[in-house]
């Protein structure tokens, strides 16, 4: 705590840490929020998708030495493929069933993919190196800061912009937004609703994969990393508001700051903080900062 | 004596004013129909009265007592029951249990943890079943009944509350002419034998002009006419709204 007050560069570094953490989390949380916004399902498997993204990055960049950017692309592609298989193979049979069944399906995916990761990549913690151009630190004048994290601070907003343009400015985006309001109506208008579902699922999952691949150098791929990230995502999307892009962005930033400054000020109690924050938001304003209140009733 | 009053009742859905300053009075003992083109706001109007929607402005009084903003279950206890346009029953319970549960709720026994459900209000349940003509189907699963019988069950559940006022939202929707005649005869019988005041929405004009004492016409969230069937039939504004609409449809 004293360090924060006495050293402005330390404090500034914590700010950057919060932003870079937030941006990384945003990419992942945005996917979760997007899927919920349209499909009305909380995809518990989002955590294992992230984990697979990280593992794929390991395989592509470290094992196969094909480069970091290739790793990102591979993660996006790999998760897109997985998403298609899951959505067409399993999920589509449950659209008219109760939400509980859909949630449980995503949970079944968590269980299965979790074991799959262990089988493919083993149970040891793997390490992924920083890409050459982004390793090391940048001189910001009054302090040095890891270049990779700076990249995250830049990429996050870029992806946000891309998603925002996609959702707000394209015809597809307009259809998707309409889909969140009235699925039946769209179907009656002849719009290919299953296609919208699949596309959303793919984009959301790909985002998780990309987020995971980007996180790989920082958070070494290891079994169980899905559990940590899914909780963080829950906190973010609840704070920000399920289904809201702005919500994921702001929520992720808030989480980044609370977590970072929390672990500096009150070390070791970050976990409690996270769940406490989650509970408080649910108690006071469950639809979060940018979400819309839903009416009671099934 | 008005058993139900609304004053300046308004609901504004963020710019879309579904019900606009409606002053409405329901006389005790009458059968009052609310008609109007689709989208006029009939179901919304009902939702405002039964506590399912809080109004933006205005108030609702039941028997002189304000009920605006009360929770639905409290309004039901005051004697205002309602049936629904879409079938709204308890599908996986038996027909018998559907009605029995309503009676248990009426008698405020819902929270009794240690009295057996099966033994409650059995005779009264059977009477209600007989009243609506479902005594043969007591042990059937409600969700598996035919549409017409489900509507009868709907009616029975509403009656279980011993209401003094019954709101029926399109009671003959989706019915053939024979089914409609049977359903309306039943409603009429029940209203007479139980001294009910009836407020209902309908599209079937033969029903409306057949049994109503008074009719009100709702259009774009406002009441444009209210009176006896003859008065409404001859009202120029009503004719414009209805005949005007059908002219558009023709072109």
């Amino acid at each position: 705590m004293d360090m924060l007050l006495s050293s402005p560069s330390f404090a500034f570094m914590q700010v950057l840490n919060s932003i870079s953490l937030g941006m990384n989390l945003f990419i992942i949380a945005a996917g979760l929020s997007l899927i919920f916004g349209v499909l009305r399902v909380i995809n518990f498997a989002h955590g294992v998708f992230y984990m697979f993204g990280a593992y794929i990055m390991y395989t592509v960049s470290k094992d196969l030495q094909l480069g970091f950017v290739t790793g990102i692309i591979a993660a996006a592609a790999g998760l897109s493929l997985i998403a298609i298989i899951i959505e067409r193979g399993l999920f589509q049979w449950l659209y008219d069933k109760e939400h509980l069944m859909q949630l449980l399906l995503t949970f079944a995916i968590v269980l299965i993919m979790g074991d799959l990761a262990k089988i493919i990549w083993g149970t040891d913690q793997l390490s992924v190196s920083y890409p050459e151009g982004l390793a090391g630190a940048t001189n910001l004048g009054f302090t040095f800061y890891p270049t990779y994290r700076l990249m995250l601070c830049v990429i996050g907003p870029l992806i946000f912009l891309g998603l925002w343009l996609l959702v707000e400015k394209t015809r597809w985006g307009r259809l998707t937004r309409a889909a969140t309001q009235d699925m039946e109506m769209l179907s009656a208008l002849g719009i290919n609703v299953p296609l919208i579902y699949v596309t959303i699922f793919i984009i959301g999952s790909a985002l998780a994969g990309v987020g995971g691949s980007l996180a790989a150098p920082i958070n070494s791929p290891t079994p169980g990393m899905d559990a940590t990230i899914i909780v963080e995502c829950f906190v973010i999307v609840i704070i920000g508001g399920l289904g809201s892009l702005w919500g994921s962005f702001v929520g992720a930033l808030i989480y980044g700051f609370v977590f970072n400054f929390g672990s500096v000020i009150v070390p070791n109690w970050q976990d409690v903080f996270a769940f406490l924050l989650l509970m408080i938001v649910l108690l006071i304003r469950p639809w979060g900062l940018f979400g819309k209140p839903e009416r009671e009733g099934h | 004596m008005n058993i139900l009053d609304t004053n300046n009742l308004t609901i504004d859905f963020g710019g879309f004013i579904a019900i606009n300053n409606v002053d409405f009075a329901l006389k005790k003992g009458e059968k009052h129909a609310i008609i109007g083109p689709n989208g006029a706001g009939k179901t919304t109007f009902f939702n405002l009265i039964t506590g399912h929607l809080p109004p933006t402005k205005g108030d609702v009084k039941f028997d002189g007592n304000p009920i605006t903003g009360l929770a639905p279950h409290k309004i039901v206890k005051l004697g205002l029951a309602r049936s629904f346009q879409r079938i709204n029953i308890f599908p996986r319970m038996t027909v018998f249990e559907n009605i029995q549960t309503a009676l248990i709720a009426r008698d405020n026994k819902s929270f009794k943890l240690f009295i057996p459900a099966s033994a409650q209000n059995c005779q009264e349940t059977e009477e209600l079943l007989a009243l609506v003509g479902l005594d043969g189907e007591a042990l059937e699963i409600a969700g598996e009944l035919s549409y017409g019988k489900q509507k009868q069950l709907e009616l029975a559940i509403s009656l279980a509350e011993n209401p003094s006022v019954l709101l029926l939202d399109e009671p003959t929707a989706g019915m053939s002419p024979q089914e409609t005649a049977v359903a309306i005869a039943l409603v009429d019988d029940v209203a007479k034998s139980r001294n009910l005041t009836l407020l209902f929405t309908e599209h079937d004009m033969s029903v409306v002009f057949g049994i109503s004492d008074r009719i009100s016409v709702l259009h774009h969230g406002e009441i444009i006419a209210s009176g006896s069937p003859d008065e409404v039939r001859n009202n120029s504004e009503v004719r414009r709204v209805y005949l005007g609409e059908s002219d558009d449809a023709a072109t």
Partner: protein
């Protein structure tokens, strides 16, 4: 006061209890332990079903009350030296109070947020149990529970568990078949309509939640003594997920379903662990089957087979 118990049900229950009473006679430690654990989980699953099957809500954090019951009983018995006659009810009351607190806020929320809040609370309980080393033992768990002497032995403890679980199940059965229980089913079937017949649905679901929490606390309190320790895993979401799957596997639309599901899942896990270390995958597979094919669980499947059979016989 006619409780309308079908003959089949009463005979089956009688036989099951009789069999359980005879278990210690087989003189197999394995069998006694297995039966004790299954009984505890059966009660745990039955309690969860009051929320899911009977009021139609989903809880992803039911383990919280199991854990609170366990920790409370363990701590009161051991750290504070309370006699069981006080610690046991106190543990149940604490679970019930926690459930009441959560229920008060949960019942204001719609489905998704309801479920998220239950999850958040149980993880909060987990996190606190994890950090509060001085009281709960933290990561190492609360070990060395002071089990009262009269049940300090495999067989006496078994009969203690059998008694408490049987009484609890009986109480739950009565509650679920009472006026309250039937109204609760109506709330599950059609929330809006239940409101329109004069039921205070919010209060109903709240009371159901508290009852569920209390009986989960009973299960947890027993387990703490059986295990002679309470560990943070008891509150972890995996525990909540497991009991949820037990409930669904057995069948959420029947009273005894969850108990059957608990036994089935427990035995399946034991069996699976003999052959593979990938129990999560097996569990995932079971879950997929439930979700895609058997939403009404094993009991539902049995009912459907019975009707099929009946139709065939009637021809």
């Amino acid at each position: 006061m006619s409780w309308n118990i079908s003959r089949g049900v009463s005979i089956t229950c009688f036989i099951v209890v009789l069999l359980l009473v005879c278990v210690p006679l087989a003189e197999s430690r394995y069998l006694i332990d297995l039966s004790t654990e299954i009984m505890v989980y059966a009660l745990f699953a039955l309690s969860l079903n009051v929320i899911i099957g009977f009021s139609g809500n989903v809880s992803f954090g039911h383990a919280a009350y199991f854990a609170i019951g366990g920790y409370a009983n363990a701590i009161l018995l051991t750290t504070y030296g309370w006699p069981l006659i006080f610690s046991f009810p106190a543990a149940i009351i604490l679970s019930a109070v926690a459930a009441a607190f959560v229920a008060y806020f949960c019942t204001r929320l719609t489905d998704i947020y309801f479920a998220m809040l239950t999850l958040a609370f149980s993880m909060l309980v987990w996190a606190i149990a994890f950090k509060w080393r001085s009281v709960t033992g933290g990561d190492d768990g609360f070990v060395g529970v002071d089990v009262p002497s009269f049940i300090d032995g495999r067989v006496p403890f078994f009969y203690f568990t059998l008694t408490v679980v049987t009484i609890s199940c009986a109480m739950l059965w009565l509650i679920c078949h009472s006026a309250f229980g039937q109204t609760l089913i109506a709330v599950r079937e059609n929330l809006t309509r239940a409101g329109f017949i004069g039921v205070n649905t919010r209060m109903m679901r709240g009371v159901a939640f508290v009852i569920a929490g209390a009986f989960a606390g009973v299960a947890g309190a027993i387990f703490a003594m059986y295990n002679r320790g309470v560990y943070t895993e008891s509150a972890f979401w995996a525990e909540s997920a497991q009991v949820l799957i037990m409930t669904l596997l057995g069948g959420m639309y029947s009273f005894f379903g969850p108990a059957i599901g608990a036994a089935a899942l427990y035995l399946l896990e034991r069996f699976s662990n003999e052959y593979t270390e990938y129990w999560p995958t097996v569990l995932g597979g079971i879950l997929l089957i439930i979700v895609l094919v058997l939403p009404d669980g094993l009991v539902g499947l049995a009912k459907r087979i019975k009707t099929r059979f009946g139709r065939v016989n009637n021809q």
